[in-house]
Amino acid sequence: MTVQVILKGFGEVVKEVTFRVRRYDPEKDNTPKYSEYKVPVKKGMTVLDGILYIKEHIDPSLSARYSCRMGICGSCAMIINGKERLACQTQILELNKDLIKVDPLGNYNLIKDLVPDLSKLFNNHKSVKPYIIRNDNPPTAEYLQKPEEREKYAMFTECILCGACLSACPTMAADDLYLGPQALAQAYRYIADSRDMGFEERLNVLDSKHGVWRCHFAGACSEVCPKGVDPALAIQLLRGVLMKNSFFGYKQVPAPVGKERPTVVEGLKVLEEKIKESEKK
């Protein structure tokens, strides 16, 4: 017996909306302009689907960045009806509007149409060294961490680097060199990780003129984050750490290494040999 699943109303055109999309081609235009497109909307259709409909049926020259279409890769963040959102996670019908206004993320240079240049986001992210830093020997097993230790930073691991928070941040709009909510949240994520020992290495970047103290707590970052990260909270927590550090010093206690794993030890040897070989070459 075959079971047929019928999704009621799925695929039916429900209404027509107008997409007002900001267009900009650096090779042709001096300033951005808006173009309007009529898009038939079916149930379940996202704003990204709408943009792809325009590309396929009306104007193939429209550019947007996307990849996973399921809110994982963070490529499709844009400003939809005035708020930063992931286009692939925004249901057109849920917006409940006949006009959908789509702008590229703000506070970034523009490459074309809805494609911002995210180098600022990635460079700032890189500058806070977003990885576990240890000054002891390479581990022969995993570092041990209790679930409650993980809780301290768990929320901040959800960041998908979509860049929406930097676009919403008013300090980012004023201060070119400000690190921004994403990088600061990630700095806290690693500093609060019991396996990390890299606080000192990040200190100069964080405790600087354009670092953690420039946040005005507008909270726009936390408001728009599609993954429920609260960068504004991370910034407050980070300030606490830095304040403590500047008066009493801040000590990180390294998490212990688990019971030696032969496979890891073996792997390390192979790795060392490979490094030596490549050094010889």
Partner: protein, 130 residues
């Protein structure tokens, strides 16, 4: 100095402004010795009683001649100047980034802040010495 230390001072001076500002307000509004709060109104048979806060200029000046109060005003001036000019430095360095701009802003705020502080101290001293 690390930014965190400067910001600590910024928050501390913010709080102290509330304390010294409160004292300043108290001194001028309630503690000013005005034993005779009667005002004779020209061509009128009655005297009017002055109500809360009306000040005799000379009595206000008397407060400045008191060493403890002069010290409070000097401290008030110090915290206000630091808080204000460090605040300007922060606002300006957000608007104009880059190492040169940052130096120009920091030093100019320091110099202007010092001038304001010296001028304010001069006023307090002149009032204190009568």
């Amino acid at each position: 100095m690390r930014e965190s230390k400067i910001m600590f001072l910024q928050y501390l001076t913010g709080l102290l402004i509330l304390v010294f500002g409160g004292l300043h307000f108290l001194a001028l509004s309630f503690l000013t010795p005005s034993p005779d709060k009667q005002l004779y109104v020209y061509q009128s048979a009655t005297n009017h009683t002055l109500v809360g806060g009306a000040l005799y200029y000379n009595y206000v000046l008397d407060i400045y001649k008191n060493l403890a109060w002069a010290a409070v005003f000097e401290l008030f001036l110090t915290v206000v100047t630091f808080h204000a000019f460090n605040g300007f430095r922060i606002i300006l360095s957000e608007q104009f980034s880059g190492p040169t701009a940052s130096k120009v802003i920091s030093y100019s705020m320091l110099i202007i802040g010092l001038i304001v502080f010296i001028w304010g101290t001069r006023t307090i001293l002149l009032a204190f010495l009568g």
